[in-house]
Each structure stands twice: as C-alpha cells, then as structure tokens.
C-alpha cells in the first residue's frame, strides 16, 4: 500500500467520522467541534515544532488575535466598538441575518489575515532566536499580548466582549460551527500535507536537521521559517475567529490566550501522537481529546494536576510519541528504509 493511498483512506475515514458522528449522536456536536479545533492546533503546531524544529510555546497568540480581530470586525460593521465594549454587554445589538453572516465571513477572514500579518511582522525577529530562547520568547510573546489586550479598553480590556448572537434556531448554531471547524481542520491538514511534499517541506526539514548547513547550502532560512509560521498563524487565526463566535463571549486570559490550556495542549497532543510525522498530531489530538472528555469531569479539580503529570510522563518517558514509536518499530510500514549496518553503528555510538 503506497503512502498516498493510505493517506486518502485516512482522509476518507476522518471525513466519514466527521459526518456520521454528529448525525448519530447530536449531543456531542460541540465536543466534536472542539476535537477538530484540537486537531487543527496540533497539526499547525507540528509544522514549526515537529517539521522545522522550532518549538513554539506561543502559537496561541495567533488564536487570540484572530478571535479579537473577528470580534472587532463583526461588531464594528454595525456599531461603534468603543461604545459597545464600554457598556460591558449592556447594549444588545440586533444583527439582521444578512448582517450576521457578512460579519461572520469577514470576521473569519480578518482573523486569518491579522494573525498572518502579525506572524510576518514578528516572525523575522522571533525566529532569529534559537532553541530554548525561541520557546521562552514565544511564551513571553503570548503572555505579553494577552496582558496588553487585557489592558486595552477599546476591546473591552479584562472584562471581554460579548459576541453577536447566532440568528438561527437554538441548536443550529453549534452545527454550523461544527461544520466550520471540521472543514477548516481537514482543509488545513490537506494544505499542510501538500506543502510538505514540495521543496518547501524539504527546506523546513533541512532547517530542523541543521540550520547552519541549510543556510550554507543556499536556503533562505529566515524566509522559509517565517512562511511556515505564517501558514500556521493563518489557520490558527481563522480557528480563533470561529471559536470566539462559538463560545459567544471572549475575554483575554481564559478564552483568547489560554497559554496554560490550549497553548500547552497543542504541544502535548503533537508530542503524544509523534511530532514530525504527518498523522501523529491528528492521532494525538483525537486520543487526547477523547481521554480528556471522558475523564475530565471524574477528576474533580485534579484534572490540571493530571495534565501536568501527563506532560511530564510524555516528555520524560515517551518522547517519540505513538507514531514515532511505531516508526522505530516497523520502519517498512512508513516507507522508511533503514540501513542495518548504519543503524547498528549508530546505536553503538549512541550507547557510548
């Protein structure tokens, strides 16, 4: 079975699950929407973290910026944003159906655009940092942006913004947002898969393996790094815009820039599934989300402690992840050829 037909089968399976799941059990629609969001986050994180070796702890910045951009656009279309946020939700703006939909589409577009522009602006600076400095710098960036937004009165500061209410019947909203997340996640994965198959994919892998050598070989490393980050940012921004509309209320620290939840989930999920593999982040995200949804409520407040423990266990004892482990175990299945002699001497060197 070639890798291509296997990929197509997995896509078919995921699309089937995505369509049949909410039809069979309508009550889990919003949980499944979050699952596709998680898949998208893990896949976009893996683009820089796994394939390019730039482990960002601050990709959540794009999510939050997209969310705020869409909020400002959607409300700004029909009302003065300053007055709206100053009233702390006291002003109820009635959106007509057409206004709502134009706002939503423009808002999602604006979310993606703002996040991409932000990545293009800060990218050349942040991506000049290497290794742990990049990770700490991006974490700092995420916290800084979150704190700046929570001090900015125009967008409501720490008290947040109420988003426009979905105009249709109760219950249809969650289906609409589900479809959006589902389509966005699948499209995102297809785009990223296509990108990996081009020279671009080879270039970012070269950057991961040895950045200085890649640069010496004539690869414009900064350009490639910024491009990769901007692609992640584009999808994260759109996802943020949709998530803001789905949750109905946005606020900087818990919803828009949750560094300690989604911000770290995406890293944990990509690592769980196996970073730097095409399907690892997807598998990791789905598994993580299922485990989280099933056990979360049973743990009575200890879930965050458990999360910390899971991350430590994952990192310390099982770093290669599920697919990474499988790839080491059965390399032939992944189309990886292993030179037995080389791998034996390689192991001898590693053992030394």
């Amino acid at each position: 079975m070639s890798a291509r037909s296997l990929d197509l089968k997995i896509y078919a399976f995921l699309i089937a699950v995505g369509i049949i799941g909410p039809l069979l059990v309508p009550s889990i629609t919003s949980q499944m929407a979050v699952m596709w969001l998680m898949v998208l986050m893990a896949v976009t994180w893996d683009m820089t973290g796994g394939q390019m070796g730039y482990n960002s702890l601050g990709n959540i910045t794009f999510f939050g910026l997209g969310m705020y951009a869409s909020a400002v656009v959607q409300i700004g279309l029909v009302y003065d944003v300053m007055e709206y946020t100053a009233s702390f939700g006291a002003i109820k703006v009635d959106f007509t159906v057409s206004q709502y939909w134009t706002g939503l589409v423009l808002g999602i577009g604006a979310g993606g655009a703002v996040a991409t522009v932000f990545a293009l602006v800060v990218g050349p600076f942040m991506l000049g940092l290497r290794g742990p400095y990049f990770a700490i710098g991006t974490l700092g960036l995420a916290v800084a942006v979150a704190e700046l937004i929570s001090g900015w009165r125009y967008v409501g500061g720490g008290s947040g913004i109420s988003m426009p209410i979905f105009p249709g019947e109760a219950g249809t909203g969650s289906i609409v947002f589900y479809v959006m997340f589902f389509v966005l996640a699948i499209v995102c994965h297809m785009v990223i898969r296509a990108v990996y198959r081009t020279r671009f994919g080879l270039a970012i892998n070269a950057i991961r393996d040895d950045e200085d050598k890649a640069e010496a070989m004539g690869i414009h490393t900064t350009r490639y790094k910024v491009m990769a980050w901007a692609i992640s940012a584009f999808f994260m921004g759109m996802a943020g815009a949709i998530f803001g509309n789905m949750s109905g209320f946005i606020e900087p620290l818990e919803v828009a820039f949750p560094t300690a939840t989604f911000g770290i989930f995406m890293v944990a999920m990509a690592l769980l599934g196996g970073k730097g593999t095409l399907w690892g982040p997807v598998l990791g995200a789905i598994l993580f989300h299922i485990v989280k949804e099933v056990t979360w409520t049973e743990l009575l407040g200890w879930q965050w402690v458990a999360l910390g423990a899971i991350i430590i266990l994952n990192i310390v004892y099982f770093q290669q992840g599920i697919l990474g482990w499988a790839q080491d175990r059965w390399p032939a299945l992944f189309g990886v050829t292993v030179d037995e002699k080389m791998s034996r001497t390689g192991q001898a060197e590693a053992a030394e």
């Binding site: 482990n55 702890l57 600076f125 000049g128 940092l129 290794g131 742990p132 400095y133 990770a135 700490i136 710098g137 974490l139 700092g140 960036l141 916290v143 800084a144 704190e147 700046l148 929570s150 001090g151 500061g157 720490g158 560094t259 300690a260 770290i264 890293v267 690592l271 407040g301 200890w302 965050w304 402690v305 999360l307 910390g308 423990a309 899971i310 991350i311 430590i312 994952n314 990192i315 310390v316 004892y317 770093q319």
Partner: protein
C-alpha cells in the same frame, strides 16, 4: 501616561520612593535568577518551574504563619524542605532530561510548573495571600519604607553571600563548578556528576524557596503568579549571561526598579505586560548582538 511622568518630575521624592522600593524587591529577583543561572550553567536545564518553586516556598511561609510561626523563623525550615523537594524532583524528572535536547528539559519543567501551580490552587485556593510578618514602617523625612522590606533585603544578602562562599570554598561547591566547566573531565577525575546535578537542582529549589518566603512577607503570593517569576529569572539571566554574578545582581536590581517605574507610568494593568515585553526586548537585543557577531565573521 504623560501625566504620570510629569508627576515623577514634579514630586521627585515620589520617584526616589519608587526607586528604593524597586531596589528592595530586586534583591529577591536576584536570588531566583541566581538559582536559574546555576542550574542552567551546570546541567544545561532551562528550568521553567523556577517561579513555581518560589511560590511554593511562599506558601510554606504562609502555612507557617497560620500555625503562628513567624515567617522569618520559617525561612531556614523552608530552605531545608525545599532542598529535599528539589532532590526528589531531580530523581523523578530532571535526571532523565539532563542529557536530552534542550526543548525536552524546557517542556518537562513546564509540565512540572503546571503540576505545582494546580496543586497549590487546589490546596490553598486562588486567593492572593500574604505571610504577615509584623514590623512597622520606617519614616525618613518624606519617605515611608516598610521595615520588613529592608529586613528581607538583608536576609537575601546574607543568603546570597552564604551561597557564594559555599560555591567558592566547600568541596561540593568546587565539584559543582568543575562539572559546569567540563562534566566529562569531572567524571574522569572521580566526581560523581549525578550527585552534583542532584545537589545543584536541590540547592536551586532551596534558594527559590527562600526567595519565596521573602516574596510572601513583603509582597503577595497566588498559585498563578509563578510564571511571571520564571519570566523575571529568564530576563535577568539572559540579560546578564551565564556565570556572570555581578551581571545577575545588577540586572536583578534593574528589573525591580524597571517594574516599579513601569507599573506607575503605564498603570497597574500593564505591570505584567511591561515585564514580559522586557523579556522579548532582551531576547531581541541578544539577537542583534549575534547578528553583529555573524557580520564580523563574514
């Protein structure tokens, strides 16, 4: 914002007050940053749980005051307890990430920080706490300085001098410095580097815990305040460079002063943003220095 700056010029005594308060707080930042520089330099582990160790020490002091023990008395107890805690953490987690790539240690300690932070939240709740130490306020002309801040700066200084003397003179201190220079050579010469690493991490935890006791006495603690303390330590170490003790001290006091002025000029809601933005700023400056080095090579 401009109004606030003009206040500083119109009432210079106020500016002096901010300066002194900043310096008094900066002493604590120096302690935590020194611990980070130690762990980073000796075992190449970027400890993102630094701030959580500080907060954990603070909660030990808070618990002591609940039992009617004065926090200053709790300081040595916290030092010993945190030392043991650090040793256990080393055996369970850090030992396995020491010789792995850099991101591993960063993420593992991030997981550890989540673990500590959330456990504290469950045990003590999310309220902001203070370990009440008593003491009055010292009035010097127009300046009012809480005595406890001066006492804590003195304690921080005593602790720092003690650690520096320990690193200079004791057998273990020499072993730590030897391991930092070349772990392999140290091993060849019969130093048990594993033990040195364990001791270093435990010492770091103890230093952070003591700093936390001081934080709880002169400021406030809350389970989620750890991250900002970690970021402060990273700013100081990045700005000063590893193994540059005078640099760490100057950067620590500088950060304390910057934080106080920034909190006043931009308003309290931007105080944390000012600290974190400074981190990004320091990293950028470092980046441009590297660019300059690369141009020389070219």
């Amino acid at each position: 914002m401009l109004d606030n700056i003009s206040i500083l010029f119109q009432a210079p005594i106020f500016a002096v007050d901010l300066l002194i308060q900043g310096l008094l707080i900066g002493g604590i930042f120096v302690l935590a940053a020194y611990g980070l520089a130690l762990v980073w330099g000796v075992m190449n582990v970027k400890n993102l749980a630094q701030g959580e160790l500080v907060i954990l020490g603070g909660y030990l002091a808070y618990q002591a005051t609940l039992w009617g023990i004065h926090p200053i008395v709790a300081l040595p107890v916290a030092f010993v307890l945190m030392f043991c805690f650090g040793w256990v953490i080393y055996l369970v987690i850090i030992k396995r990430v020491v010789d792995r790539d850099m991101f591993t240690s960063l993420l593992a300690t991030f997981g550890l920080s989540l673990l500590i932070q959330q456990s504290l939240n469950l045990v003590f709740g999310p309220e902001v706490r203070i370990a009440e130490a008593g003491f009055g306020t010292l009035i010097l002309g127009d300046l009012a300085i809480p005595v406890i801040r001066i006492v804590s700066l003195g304690l921080a200084a005593v602790l720092a001098v003690g650690i520096i003397l320990f690193m200079r003179n004791s057998r273990m201190g020499q072993a730590i410095r030897a391991t930092a220079q070349d772990p392999r050579a140290a091993r060849v010469l019969g130093i048990n580097t594993d033990r040195v690493y364990a001791f270093t991490y435990a010492l770091n935890a103890a230093i952070c815990g003591s700093a936390g006791v001081l934080v709880a006495m002169i400021w406030n603690i809350q389970p989620y305040y750890g991250l900002v303390h970690s970021i402060r330590s990273f700013i100081i170490v990045t700005a000063a460079g590893l193994g540059n003790l005078p640099g760490v001290i100057i950067a620590g006091f500088g950060l304390g002063v910057w934080e106080n002025y920034a909190g006043f000029v931009f308003g309290a809601e931007f105080a944390i943003a000012a600290v974190v933005a400074l981190l990004v700023g320091v990293l950028m400056v470092r980046l441009f220095q590297l660019y300059r080095v690369r141009q020389v090579v070219r």
